[in-house]
Symmetry: C2
Subunit: 342 residues, 2 copies
């Protein structure tokens, strides 16, 4: 004798229990205002007593929507990753929950193809929209998705595509670095150096411009105080040494925590103390507030990823409900996490 298994309740089960029609139960869930208060109550009771939950697949089929947001994970680059993705995914999942959405992760089979993976999910209608994050060096996916009228939102500005008209959210790196300049200058530092990335990095130049602009606004010179190179600890170290032997800055602002780690090493090797007092300490500020920054007590510019996620989902939601509306980008301001390195 087979075990008696209680069948999973459906709309019809609930309808029978409540003594109404299938459609009325559906309305109780999706448009409760259409029901008489007394009926609604009865249906609710039936739903509760049976423990009914609508079947997602059936709903998806009928409404042609999956309530899923696709997020492509690109290969984890050991060491260079600042660990932001972890925090970002948490924030995104949390933001999605409030709209009844969920995040679906996928990866490319061919990581060198920036479009791989999107088409399959789209064709099978497995996701309603995408969040595109890999915008560090231009973003082919953005244009491709745009051309196909696929709903998506980018984390990162379309630096290299002035025609782009998709919604995006980004963090104002320039403003973040300006904060850092103010911070060290307020503490009395005057020779404030910049260690950043190569000139072809849009993000790098944006952050650097915050340093240049704010330094000039504060009446300070920037010449001979700047270095550009790879995003490695080693470059940070070498750049710091070279600068110390040249213009002898008392503060270093870096385009990344990685570079800042190099600066800290250089200072330690040279026996120079770090801290905020320009008289006998050198200040160091990083960017991203990564785990290493937190651990080494490094002051760092922190991206408001939680806000970013909320804005991304808000834009997506608007895009999906009112596809017509013009949407512009959203620029959020980072904050400075003060620690003992400055």
């Amino acid at each position: 004798m087979p075990a008696r298994v209680r069948a999973v309740p459906t709309l019809d089960t609930v309808a029978a229990e409540a003594g109404v029609s299938r459609q009325t139960v559906s309305n109780a869930l999706n448009s409760p205002h259409l029901l008489r208060a007394e009926t609604l109550e009865r249906v609710q009771a039936a739903i509760d007593s049976l423990g009914y939950t609508p079947n997602r697949a059936a709903r998806n089929l009928r409404t042609k929507a999956s309530q899923l947001i696709g997020l492509r994970l690109d290969p984890f680059v050991e060491g260079s990753a600042s660990g932001l993705m972890d925090r970002f995914m948490h924030a995104l999942a949390e933001a999605c929950r409030d709209c009844g959405l969920h995040v679906l992760l996928f990866t490319a089979e061919d990581h060198t193809d920036p479009l791989d993976g999107y088409e399959a999910l789209l064709g099978s209608r497995a996701v309603d929209a995408f969040v595109v994050t890999d915008t560090y060096r231009g973003n082919p996916a953005a244009r491709w998705l745009s051309d196909r009228r696929v709903p998506f939102v980018a984390f990162g500005r379309p630096w290299d595509d002035s025609r782009a008209d998709h919604p995006w959210v980004d963090v104002d790196g320039r403003a973040g670095v300006a904060l850092a300049v103010d911070h060290v200058v307020d503490r009395g530092h005057q020779r404030v150096a910049w260690i950043g990335w190569h000139k072809d990095s849009y993000i790098g130049e944006d952050r650097r411009s915050g340093w240049v602009q704010r330094m000039h606004e504060r009446g300070l010179a920037t010449s001979k105080l700047s270095a550009r190179g790879d995003d490695t600890i080693d470059f940070g170290r070498r750049a710091a040494i070279a600068l110390l032997e040249g213009a002898a800055p008392t503060a270093f602002l870096c385009a990344s925590d990685t570079l800042a780690m190099g600066v800290l090493q250089a200072l330690r090797d040279k026996g120079i103390r770090t801290g905020g007092n320009p008289a006998h300490e050198v200040a160091v500020v990083g960017f991203d507030d990564s785990l290493p920054a937190q651990v080494t007590d490094l002051t760092s510019v922190r991206q408001p990823l939680e806000e970013v996620a909320v804005e991304l989902v808000r834009l997506l939601d608007e895009r999906m409900t009112h596809p017509m509306d013009e949407q512009r980008g959203v620029l959020l301001t980072p904050s400075l996490r003060l620690r003992s390195s400055s």
Copy 2:
């Protein structure tokens, strides 16, 4: 005049194009061996020319499966997180791809409730199974899911539940620490200390047992060489100082990179060099190979998360296709990432 939109192709569209029935197209995709070679080719051509992709929602409805694996993200704990989650999610997404599965992220509304979120996804049949990761202190979710016969696999042993019979994958922390013992002892260290977590942590005691056991196997004493406390940098620092003033170890093995960071700080403060030579250097080994470890050049035990993910998905896949089979746990061995701290 509305824009002419090419309708999304369905099975019927393809069937008409290929001059066969709907079911034949379905078979071409799911059971190609049932078709005559010539027919298969014709159907394939039709599929390609129309750019047909099966609709996921319809398939899910009919087959009562979503091909989605649920993964609950618990709140991101600033600082204490070792950043493993990032690498793990990548590995999991990648492993899922090879089985035609995808990862669906979700979060709890009430983070203190270890079961929150599971029921809703299960009731709506939005996911087929779960991967449960938060097994650091017992795991109520495992038993709850087990009782409901929900397919799931745990990353982490069921330490506290001997009756548990669900499949799991874990990393052999004891073996990892034993590797570390061998490493430093091979370099000539004899007084090798352990800095770990409180006694009530199963994982902590497991790792510690690797130290105790292997030390004794190598004929070395462990008494007065051990400290247990919170998983903080500060405790690591204080424990190291206390030990140095007592049994004066020349090597420190730590239950986490966080603790190891504290040890490194203590050594630096005391002007003691780190490295592998017991004559004039103190060796330090961490656990998890986190970003800070990589950045500070700390030798660390590295969990094989990529293998873990593959095994998890393999077990899930087996569980879903042969629900009857008994399944046991899988224990994977970590490796030692050698760096300059030892």
